[in-house]
Symmetry: C2
Subunit: 504 residues, 2 copies
């Protein structure tokens, strides 16, 4: 078959899978934003039906044949080869899992979610234990079905971060533990208390929304191809590159959660809006990994949104939206955007401590799936991790091992992608700054187009053409490492706390 | 096969069709309410995919066999017989149309919609002519494919109002023409000018929304199973009986469009929320016809919402929401809710003249499909109808034959369901009043539960167990006729305009 025909055949089958996924995404978005409570029963049935239809198509023999034909026709067509590679990865993962096991997993995670909510409410790990053990067992069986020759945890990792290996992650997390933990403990010991009052006060919700919209639009988020709506938890979802939805929530007494939440989700959204139009509906038209996705959200949130240069542009806009805060200024707000403080709850953690929360989870998950820990050992292992790395210990399981929804959903191997995102964004940002020159000057002028253009051409438009690891290496000229991130955190420790760390 | 197994088999297949329809409904709702403009391309593809999946299932041999088995097993099970009857009707209609013709129709209506918008904007019927002629030809072929032995127009009618016949509609429309037209002309000749100032002024949008929500909730609309959102055109849609969405729009200088729009859509919504839970997902779990649906919306909008008794309850609530209107009272507002005035635009018409707009369309559509009119004759036939029945003549095609979207969509036979709704609601309402006693007293106390309870048990909970005609006859004890509606309009003419009509 000639490459053009092979590509057309593969893409026409794949587009239907993507469209079914987008339809599910619309239903899930509505469920999280607007759906009334009694809509849940029908919605659950509708989502299960759509998942089944997508699974049927993803595992179909016809697709397998189209992939094989594409791979064969792709000798001189690396784009088509990439399409076949990515399609085959997803097809094989789905086809390897027996329908009965998939059904058992869906039931087990649905049950575990309900039990987890109750267990967290009561701070009662034993109540969650059996449901969690069942999910772990089924995920183990699933991993073995997909690839019996690789460690189970690595097979699970691959679902969220294709190509990531335990061998590649371990040294990264080791470096973070060794470098970050003492730095954070030195900051805590410094006795410096940052004045957070510039971030606090009264911030009316409509003004927070208007400010957030103005910022997101200025970053480049296209509201003809997207929306912002309130939701209990901020997220970004995509129904096609012309329709990217982000959500937000707020605190009336602190503008930071809403603004940085919106910048974070807009960062995800900019990636989705920038995916390659020519590959839409094809296996390489999507975001490449959760880690790269998180790198885009964190880049706009942390490296742009918390910078002094950004606030030189944003301060007059802030004052216009919040006229009750006339003394707000870039130098006073900067430290309040860079607090470093060991804490127990991951989702409330700052830039520096966040990755230790993840290091603890990576360590516990890896040991669990390697058979070094049992489910019953999890609370103790968790608490020891916090004691060792952050110097604090959860007072109960609700603020410890029960805090995250991920395990109840079966999402083992997901957490590391958060840290990968934090590392990737710093490494990419250093490359962007090296190539584009003075980004601060552009930010101070409210000009984010050079940075966005750079990300578009280097990252967004690559879709899934390369693996995440290849992409990072192509763009930054070297494999992913923790050093750019550590430089960033050391600058914060020094400038906000006067703590000077030994060089890496 | 025993009836239980036959029913289970039929319902399990049918539920999937209903779920796919509900998924499409979610996507269409989002498209009309929140979707950003660049989302259209992907959305169109997603909706086409879902329509194809539903069509595949509706025409499947497997479903045909399940229907046959159910019909055979239903000898002593009239509920199952009704399920088989309704499933067979839809299955046969869908299966009779060749895929090629269905595709041509979808393309022709899509093209006609675009041309119609432009033609209406320019008030240029000749621009629309060819596209319309193509749609008419394809709908003719479709009708012949479905049932070559019945008049094409009747086959089309049956899509919206199962069981309706030209023979049953003609005398009804004749009676409306003969009785209504002179009455309306007498009202116009009376010289009475109704004072509409109590309905006008400044009505802030948030207050209009809050007032509408309070009214809808009091009528019985369950917001745990529904929502109200803004949209360019008011509508009601259902994703299952636990999730019924209504939309609204407003004018700041007149509270009537928003309030009566909300009451109208809430009336549709009450029907959907009241459909029989036991038959959910089965072929008889849905609303029986568009006519009966419209009877529910019109009943709450016109017979409840425009009544003096309703306003005795609603006036203090109105004043609370609109404190700038302290002199608002039931007697001053009542005439302004009952203006009768010949006009050219259907969607702006009042209760009395509305059905002459429909009579004109029914007449023109019927003659077109009977071969008595050609597409080229439509503008003249339209204008003559307005001259004859309403005594006014469109000045151009934009305010004449081009005003409605229906024909561009191929929806011939849809218009009569509006009038059926108006007649059914008056006939049902007389029966309710006869059985429940003094409804005015209940309305004045804000107690709408007796009426809703009556509608629930007589109409909503019947689903599609009976045809619309059977349902009306069972509930009111006689076949549908125009007399109850005409009594209602004569009361308006007399009380608002002092025009006394000869008895019917």
């Amino acid at each position: 078959m000639d490459p053009t025909a092979a590509r057309e055949r593969l893409v026409s089958l794949w587009r239907e899978i993507e469209d079914l996924r987008s339809v599910s995404a619309v239903l899930e978005w509505d469920q999280e934003t607007f759906m009334p409570e009694l809509g849940q029963e029908a919605r659950g049935r509708q989502l299960a039906l759509l998942a089944g239809l997508a699974h049927e198509r993803l595992t179909a023999t016809e697709l397998g044949e189209a992939i094989a034909a594409a791979a064969e026709a792709a000798a001189d067509d690396p784009e088509l080869a990439a399409m076949a590679r990515e399609a085959r990865r997803q097809h094989r993962r789905a086809a390897a899992v027996p329908a009965e096991l998939a059904r058992e997993l869906a039931e087990a995670t649905s049950a575990a979610l309900a039990v987890w909510q109750e267990a967290r409410r009561r701070s009662d790990f034993p109540r969650f234990r059996d449901a969690l053990a069942r999910v772990v067992e089924l995920r183990r069986r699933q991993a073995a079905a997909i690839d019996p020759n690789r460690p189970a945890y690595e097979v699970l990792l691959d679902e969220y971060e294709p190509g990531a290996t335990v061998a590649s992650l371990e040294p990264v997390f080791r470096q973070l533990r060794e470098r970050l933990a003492p730095l954070i403990q030195a900051v805590a010991a410094s006795g410096v208390e940052i004045d957070e009052s510039p971030a606090r006060g009264r911030f009316p919700v409509p003004a927070q929304r208007a400010f957030g919209l103005e910022v997101a639009e200025r970053l480049g988020f296209d509201f003809r191809a997207g929306r912002l709506d309130p939701a209990p938890h901020p997220f970004c979802t995509t129904f096609g590159r012309g329709d990217v939805r982000i959500t937000w929530r707020w605190q009336e007494d602190d503008f930071r959660p809403a603004l940085f939440g919106i910048m974070h989700e807009a960062g995800h959204g900019l990636y989705e809006q920038g995916l390659p139009a020519a590959w839409a509906g094809s296996p390489i038209g999507q975001a490449v990994s959760l880690g790269v996705h998180e790198s885009q959200s964190r880049l706009w949130e942390n490296l742009v949104g918390r910078s002094r240069a950004f606030w030189r542009w944003a301060t007059p806009i802030f004052r216009r939206h919040f006229p009750d805060h006339p003394t707000f200024d870039p130098d006073r707000i900067w430290p309040a955007l860079h607090t470093v403080r060991p804490s127990l709850i991951r989702v409330e953690a700052d830039e520096a401590t966040y990755n230790l929360h993840i290091a603890i989870r990576f360590d516990v998950e890896r040991r669990l799936f390697a058979g070094e820990l049992e489910v019953d050992d999890l609370p103790a292992a968790w608490n020891e991790g916090y004691e060792e790395l952050l110097g604090i210990r959860p007072g109960n399981d609700a603020e410890g091992v029960l805090q995250d929804i991920h395990w109840a959903m079966g999402a083992f191997g997901y957490f590391p992608t958060y840290t990968l995102g934090n590392l990737i964004c710093c490494q990419l940002f250093e490359s962007a700054a090296a190539e584009l020159g003075d980004l601060d000057q552009a930010f101070a002028a409210g000009d984010f187009a050079p940075l966005l253009g750079w990300l578009r051409s280097r990252v967004h438009e690559a879709g899934s053409r390369w693996s995440a690891a290849e992409l990072v290496e192509r763009v930054s000229g070297r494999p992913l490492a923790a050093d750019a991130f550590l430089r960033h955190i050391r600058r914060i420790a020094e400038e906000a706390y006067g703590v000077v760390a030994e060089p890496a």
